[in-house]
Structure formats: structure tokens, C-alpha cells
Symmetry: C2
């Protein structure tokens, strides 16, 4: 894909070539290229887009990139862009903007748009309420298919989706769903009530956005109805918004997993300072935790002075402990994320992982025993073998149990990432090692 | 969610209670509960489901669970289940079954079903060809809206989706798309050619399934047309299949990231032996790589004997190197996965990460200098400070560059995970440490 020129054209300020290039390039590619530029460059590229194309590209950008664009444009273009976003996308953009700008923009929206946006902004940040679309077409059960189609023709153009059609009773309570597809193939005189499915997936506005998005994925829905506490319909979560939520959540999990705070912008759009900030706190916390290893070794310093050879195996042993712990925690964190295991499975998981740890430790012990015995003698061979089995078992159990325990006390399990497990099992691993060594070598 | 009883009811063999319970429970929950049971238990629970409900639950299961169910059922029920799956889901199930069973089942399918399934099975395993649905409704550009709707009524009931409608020319070449929504609101006399969008996203059958699925997500599509090398339509990738692909790919990335082979079944369905197998090879490779640290320390054993205190900081230093490397590699791997960076960005990334590494190293050096100086003297303080800056910078650069280089030589970047980075930077980190120590302490 030879798309590099866009970046270069912007930097060279070649407006004519840039205009031609941007008009030729698919919207998604333009959005992708723009997200690789920094603030002022993005605005430059944006100015040369035609008004309609500009909106399409704007919709395809992340909120943080959208903000960069807004910063660089004149007021009336800003309003045009903001006004034409779907209400739920607008709320996400407003989350990123300074409060002052939001107030200004809200004032300029039409009363209907303002009401819908304000409504969504009232829900907690990670709830599905924030992400649902208040633009949908709902039907009464008593309607005939013919009347329903007429209604869809009248209202459907503005609604974000009309493929999934919620069916309501006289109190606006959700009692079923049907689809445009069923209406098309049905006899025009059929009542909606006879056509709808009553076994409906639905969530309330305060449902966690990730849970709602997962339900859309698992059940293969096009739109998931969102209801209030009295089961009255207030919006729908569309499949494209659900996919976006899952991507954001997965990016967050990956970041936590690598031991750093999630970046809320594309990687290249974050400065070196920004990256350092996202990682610095974690590194600092981890190095403070690692100070415990210094204390442990200080405690065994006499033993080390007697047999310096013991120091040679420290990195290998703590790496192995960290790795087997990281393996177990990754597997459990992922299984929790996709809903395969829950807290009640803890005893079962610990028992399984204990056996896995013993198996893995025994395998490593066999692999290491002969070379170590040949070079440093059988005593060292036994020290290493016993230490490996013990450390692997302990690390595997800890790695599997900690994410579940973290969730129990309300911490995101993804926080118990490889670096955290490594640091935690290091100190304990060293204690195990020295106790085994002291016993076997008779120190 | 009090759903535990299903497991218990199956184990107790209480068929009456189980039948009542399963009839009451939503399909997705039943599927979830079944995937937590082992082989024979799954089949027991499955037998008591009604025929229609059984199909719905079967569709919601993973292919590996589906296989367990098939193993435990009588032949005609098996055929009923297999016959009623969508062709693309059937192909995925067949991938998991022994070849003998596949041949047997294929023979029993209707000729039309067999042709579609056989067609899909001809594409490479990770291609979108395997996952597309050959059941779609396509329209000619010359058709009127009225005729198109009549055609959809006739054909649409069996097609997997009719919300996105590909438009073809006289040679079956894809020239546009339209949606049921546009047809509904349009004047019945309008030609499809005047209604369709010609700026169409499409992929060829050999496109990587993950790229195709990402395109569905980025562009917010309900179905992505899949064409052959001459742009003739052969199928569509629906949004629910795209979401499933992304979930599988993300689970794989997570597994690699934790340093183990992906499990192709739900976590609880894998035995302790299976888990050990998925992790054992990696652990073994990593411990062999870690043997390098033993060699490095052996090389500096005299220095260690002179100043045993140096050993105290080994775990802390290699942990910090591993952590900063893991942070950088996670960020870059994720940015690559979502298409934010590419190989050409390597110099830019290395330069950014080098600055990040220096910043982080400097911060840690400041934090560590004073306590180390107070306890072990200023010489040790300087050794630690200089080592931390150097190790952080080196680990950050290596962590960021290695995923890109891995991709360059055709290895999945996700393989360059935290455990791999840790092991790689450990040996080099120790060399840096001892060289700095020898210089400053004058050994």
C-alpha cells in the first residue's frame, strides 16, 4: 500500500497535489493517514477536503483526532461537523473536549439534537447508556405490517438503524423485536404482535458497556435494545458501536497487560513524553516492589558469600518463575474477559493449575538436572531441580489465582499482568531457592 | 447470575429437573454452561433439549464443543444439526472433525448444501474465503426497486443477510451495494443502478480473515462483499462472523503475549495435561535462552566474588529491563495489530522509544540513587543510576523494534511477547551492569 505520500505532501505544503491525492483516496485510508499526523498537520490536510468528504473522514476518526481537527478549523465548519455526527458519537467526542467548548457547541445545536445529546451525557461513563443511539424506529404490537412499513418509510431515514425494530406495548415497555427482513416477506395484513420474537435480549442503561457489547457479539445482534429500570425502551446499541467498544476495551486490556496505562490516542499520535507518562508510574511501582528482592538477597548475603556459584542461577530461576506465572495469568485473564470462568471456579482453577505447575516444573527439572550436575556437581543439580518444581508450581497457582482475587476486591483483573506477577513471584522464588540450597548443601 | 445448578443437575443425572431448567434458560446461557462441562456431560445435557432449541444452542457453541456434542449423539440427530448450520459455520466445524466423519457427513448433505460447503473448504484456512457466506441476495443494476423487493421476498428467507445487497453487472462483477433500507424508502420505479453506492468496500477470497474482519469493524459494515480475482461476487462476510474472527484472533494474540500456544478450546474444557502442553515448549525454549544469563554471570564470577553486594541488585535490574521492554513491545504490537504503524515507521519508532527509554531510566535512576547511596555508598549509587538509564533505553528500543523486525521476517509480532523480551534483555542487561560496575568501582 503506497500511501506514504500524504504525510509528505502535508509536510511539503503542496496543497494542489494534496487536494488531488485526498480526493482519490478512500475515506478510511484518509482517516488512517490523518491519525498519523500531528495536530497542525491534521488540520492542514482537513481543510482541503470537500465538505461532504470532510464529514465522512471526521466520522471515521477517533475522538482524540477529532479534537485536533476541531482545534484547527474555523467555527462554522466545526459546527457543521459536530451537528452531523450521530448523537452517541457526539457524546464520545464531547468527553474529550474541554467543558467550555462543549457548552459552546451544545448551545449551537438544534433543540432536538441538544436534547438527545444531553440525555446520553447523563449516564455514567462506562455504561451502555453513553453509547446507545436514541435514534431508532419502534413499533406497536397492534400495528399491521403495512402500517409499520409506512411508518418506517416516514421515520426511517434519520434513524441510525432500522434493521432491528423494537416492539413496544402501550406503556413504551419493550415486549419483543422484529426485523425489516420479516416485515418484507410477511403478508401486509399481519399484525406486528404475531410476527415479533418475544425472547428478546435487552440491557438496562447502566449495564457495563463491555458486557452489552459482548452480548451483541455472542448473540449476533444488529442492534441491542436498551431499556430503563421499568423496561421502557430508551435506545439501541448498534453492532458497529459494539465492535468499537470491544476494540477500545481490548486495547486497554493489552496495555494493562504490558504493564502500562492505556493510551487514549493512536500510538504515533502520542509524544515521547506522553508515552513515558503512561509507563512511568507502573515502572516506579514495580521497581519499589522489586526492592523486596534486594532485601531477600541481603538476608541471605552470608550464604551467597560462602557459595558465590548460587548467584549464577538467580536470573534463570526468577525468569522461569515469572514466565510460568505470566502464562497462567494470561490464560485466566482472557478466560475471565470472554466470560468462560468466574470467581466460583477459583478452587477448581487452583487445583488444575497446581497440577500444570508440577508437570511443567518436573519437565524443566529433568532438562536442567544433567547439565548442572555435569558442571557444578549433583548437589547443585538437586538444588535446581527441587527449586524449579517448587517455583513453577507456586508461580502457576499465584498467576492463576491473583486475577480472580483481584476481581473479587474490585480491581480490573488485567492489572495483574505479566510484569506484576513477575515482580510478585521473584522475592518468594528467591526465598524458596535459598532455603532449598541451605538444606541440600548443608550451609 | 445463579446458573450453577445446570452443572450439578447434569452430574446428579436428574433428567426431569434438568429438562425443566434447560427449557427455562436463555440459549446463550445454556451454551455457556455446556462449554464448562466435559465431553460425556455435554452430550447428556444436549439430549434433553428440544429439537429446535438444540439447533440454536448448537449454533452458539464453539466448534470444539460442537464436536463433543456430535460424538455423544445418535446419527440422525447429528445430521439434523449439521444440515441446519450456515455453510460457513459448517466449514468451521468440519475443520475440527476427523476427516472420516467429515466425509460421512458431506455424503449425507443435500447436493446444494454439499456444493456450498465444498466450495468454502477449498480456500486457505486463514482466508476470508473460509468464513464468507455463499448465501446472499444479489441484484442487477437494471432492476427496479419493485422487482428487487419481489426478488428479495422470494429468495431472502434463506439468505444469511439481506440488509446489505450487492449489485452486479451482467458478468456477475460487483459494481455497487445498496441496502434494504434504501429500497424501502425509495420510489418503487427507481432503478437499483441509480440507488446504489459505487464506492464499495470489498475483499478477495484470499484476503487474510483478520484484515477483512477489521475492515468490517472500521467501516461499520453489516456485510462485506467477497470477490474473486476478476471481481465477480462469490460471497459476503457478515458482521457477526467478523466479530467472531476478531475474538478468535485476539484470544490468540493474548495467548502468545503471555508466552504460550493458543488453546483452541475454552479454558475450562482443556485438561491440565493440555494446558501443560500449550505452555511447556515455550517455557523450555525460554529457559534454554535464559541459560545465557548463567554464562554471563560465570564470566563475571571473579567480580562477584570480590563484591558479593553486586548480586543483590541482579533481580531488580533485570526485572526493570524486562518490564520496560515489555511495555514498549506491547504498545507496538497492539499498534501493529490495529494497523496504526507499519514497518516503514521503524526509524521513527526507534527514535521515539529511545527518548522514552532515557526519560524512564533517568526517572528510576533519581528514585534509586539516594537509598542506594545511603546504604551502600555513592559508588554503588552511581553504578545503579548509570546502569538503569542504559538498561531502560536498550530494553525500550529492543522491545519496540523486535515486533517490527519479526514481522519483516514473517513471524507473528505477537510472538515477541513479554517473556521473550525479558529473556532477551536479561543477558545483555547483566553485561551492561557488570561493565559499569567494573569501571566505576575500579575492579
Amino acid at each position: 500500500m503506497d500511501t506514504a505520500p500524504i504525510e509528505e505532501l502535508v509536510r511539503e505544503g503542496d496543497v494542489t497535489a494534496l487536494t488531488a491525492r485526498l480526493a482519490d483516496t478512500p475515506v478510511l485510508t484518509v482517516a488512517e493517514e490523518l491519525s498519523r499526523l500531528d495536530g497542525s498537520e491534521t488540520a492542514v490536510a482537513f481543510r482541503v477536503l470537500s465538505r461532504d468528504r470532510a464529514l465522512e473522514v471526521f466520522e471515521a476518526l477517533d475522538p482524540s483526532d477529532q479534537q485536533q481537527v476541531l482545534d484547527g478549523l474555523r467555527d462554522d465548519r466545526v459546527l457543521h461537523l459536530v451537528e452531523n455526527l450521530d448523537p452517541d458519537d457526539r457524546v464520545r467526542l464531547f468527553d474529550e473536549l474541554p467543558a467550555k467548548v462543549v457548552t459552546l457547541l451544545l448551545e449551537q445545536l438544534s433543540p432536538a439534537e441538544r436534547r438527545m445529546t444531553g440525555l446520553l451525557m447523563g449516564y455514567p461513563e462506562d455504561s451502555v447508556g453513553r453509547h446507545m443511539s436514541p435514534e431508532y424506529v419502534s413499533l406497536r404490537a397492534s400495528l399491521t405490517v403495512e402500517d409499520a412499513l409506512a411508518r418506517i418509510r416516514r421515520e426511517g431515514v434519520d434513524a441510525e438503524t432500522i434493521y432491528a425494530l423494537p416492539v413496544l406495548d402501550d406503556h413504551r415497555r419493550l415486549i419483543g423485536v422484529t426485523g425489516l427482513r420479516s416485515l418484507i416477506v410477511a403478508d401486509p395484513a399481519t399484525r406486528i404482535g404475531d410476527l415479533m420474537t418475544t425472547d428478546v435480549h435487552m440491557v438496562t442503561t447502566d449495564t457495563d458497556r463491555e458486557d452489552a457489547a459482548r452480548l451483541v457479539r455472542e448473540a449476533g445482534l444488529i442492534a441491542l435494545p436498551v431499556v430503563d429500570s421499568e423496561q421502557r425502551l430508551v435506545g439501541v446499541l448498534t453492532v458497529d458501536d459494539a465492535m468499537e467498544i470491544l476494540e477500545v476495551e481490548e486495547t486497554e486490556d493489552f496495555a494493562l497487560h504490558g504493564g502500562h496505562a492505556p493510551l487514549n490516542k493512536p500510538y504515533l499520535a502520542v509524544s515521547a513524553f506522553g508515552l513515558a507518562r503512561a509507563r512511568g508510574v507502573w515502572l516506579l511501582v514495580l521497581i519499589i516492589a522489586a526492592a523486596l528482592t534486594v532485601n531477600v538477597l541481603q538476608f541471605f548475603e552470608d550464604t551467597l558469600e560462602q557459595v558465590v556459584t548460587l548467584a549464577l542461577f538467580i536470573p534463570l530461576l526468577i525468569d522461569t518463575g515469572g514466565n510460568s506465572g505470566a502464562q497462567a495469568s494470561t490464560a485466566v485473564i482472557r478466560a475471565m474477559a470472554v466470560g468462560e470462568v468466574r470467581l466460583a471456579d477459583l478452587p477448581r482453577i487452583v487445583w488444575r493449575e497446581a497440577r500444570v505447575g508440577v508437570l511443567l516444573g518436573a519437565m524443566l527439572a529433568v532438562a536442567v538436572f544433567i547439565p548442572v550436575t555435569l558442571i557444578w556437581g549433583a548437589d547443585f543439580g538437586f538444588v535446581m531441580a527441587i527449586t524449579l518444581v517448587t517455583i513453577c508450581t507456586w508461580a502457576t497457582i499465584a498467576g492463576a489465582a491473583l486475577p480472580l482475587l483481584a476481581k473479587r476486591i474490585g480491581i480490573d483483573p488485567a492489572v495483574v499482568s505479566a510484569p506484576v506477577i513477575t515482580t510478585l513471584v521473584d522475592a518468594t522464588g528467591l526465598v524458596i531457592y535459598f532455603l532449598v540450597a541451605i538444606t541440600i548443601l548443608g550451609l
